[in-house]
Symmetry: C2
Subunit: 221 residues, 2 copies
DNA sequence: TATCGAGCGTACCGTACGGTACGGTACTGG
DNA sequence: CCAGTACCGTACCGTACGGTACGCTCGATA
């Protein structure tokens, strides 16, 4: 089935990057890549992708350049779905600060425990070993660093409101990050089953926030 | 150069595991594997290993069965070098508890930031994607879980001495783990440069221990 | 010295996979 | 109705790599 509306079909010129915003059809291809990654990590061949997405390999190469381009586009595509929320922070009281932090913790735990994230991170980690096309950098930028940039303003607002005390918001965030994630991500990446339910995630997030406030809270936050 | 002393040369029978304690020559081969892993992650071919170790591929297959066997033996070999220390814990006062925790934190940070550990974990993570021969499990058992088993008794001794308060030593350890490692391991695995010096590690360990004691310490530890 | 075997070097095989070429088809615009 | 084009399906190519086979050397033992 061709796309009936005349969509902007972008091809990748020699040396250029994959399209910033994939067409609907291209998104379907990228979803196929994600599906394959999740269900069998090392079955991720160009043939398999083409078969799964019902497209020709030639098209894959035309759209994404090469295998790395396809993987990069996939990582970007997945990243684009995760970014959400992030409303501006205003007048903070203790309860809303706690609530914000809890939200961050829950959504972060939900992301890193998802099968998609695990599969994606595995690919990126494996890729980081060999130089070329840093998937790792992209994953970091859209994962760890993206959430850092979203959390830090909240922390700073908390400090401005006299609820938190710290000198370096980056350091404070990293502590928060450690308290939330602990050993979860590495265990998942290394293949442990370990699936947290929604309630377990909420409890974990709760504990992490309490601990963080115990360390950085001023007066009663 | 052959090994001049008549060493027990073990071969791997069909379906059996690699030798538990590799001969000196075999250790040299495994070191070659480690060296290759560190200097170029995806150049880890059987040919490359044989060339690097000055041995024949046939010997590799005789000794280790197949590629997975070689990798498994390498992971085990590296693990066997890391295990050290772990003296029995007796009468704890606040200062020695703090010291013990600091030692653990420093040695853990030193391990996970080492190029060898990063390379090894990359391989194991990549392998965890495809089923078969869980390198991931071995790495977990000798890394995260091994240190857990060494830290928990210390924590419990601290509790017995009235220095710490917690209900679940596993949970307490995981918090400690998170405070120490934070985002370091994932950032390294994903390819960020980020090399900590010895002093930086010590500072990090310091901070982590202080934070842990702030959360779990009873009276002044 | 003759025999044996561990192990090195190299050549070889099969296959899987990245990447390319090509014919056929359906939709689009003139 | 015809040209153009986007794309599917499939066949194909080259190569890299896991795994095997074989000849040769060297040290050990009798």
């Amino acid at each position: 089935m061709r796309s009936s509306l005349a969509e902007r079909q972008e091809t990748v010129e020699a040396g250029a990057e994959a399209p910033a915003t994939p067409s609907v059809r291209q998104q379907a291809v990228l979803d196929a890549v994600l599906a394959l990654m999740v269900e069998d990590g090392d079955q991720l061949t160009m043939d398999a992708v083409a078969r799964r997405a019902s497209c020709s390999k030639e098209t894959l190469y035309k759209w994404f350049g090469d295998r790395d381009g396809l993987l990069t586009a996939t990582v970007r595509w997945q990243a684009s779905r995760v970014h959400a929320g992030g409303a501006a922070v205003q007048a903070l009281d203790g309860a809303t600060l706690r609530e914000h932090l809890q939200d961050f913790a829950v959504s972060w735990l939900t992301v890193i425990t998802s099968r998609t994230s695990v599969a994606l991170n595995r690919i990126a980690v494996a890729h980081a070993g060999s130089r070329k096309s840093n998937l790792g950098g992209i994953v970091l930028a859209n994962g760890r660093f993206a959430i850092g940039e979203r959390v830090k303003p909240v922390l700073e607002a908390g400090r401005d409101a006299g609820l938190l005390a710290f000198a370096d918001s980056e350091a404070a965030f990293r502590t928060f990050f450690g308290l939330v994630g602990r050993d979860i991500q590495i265990r998942l990446l290394l293949g442990e089953a370990l699936d947290l339910g929604e309630d377990e995630i909420r409890r974990d997030a709760d504990r992490a926030v309490e601990q963080f406030l115990a360390l950085y809270g001023r007066a009663k936050a």
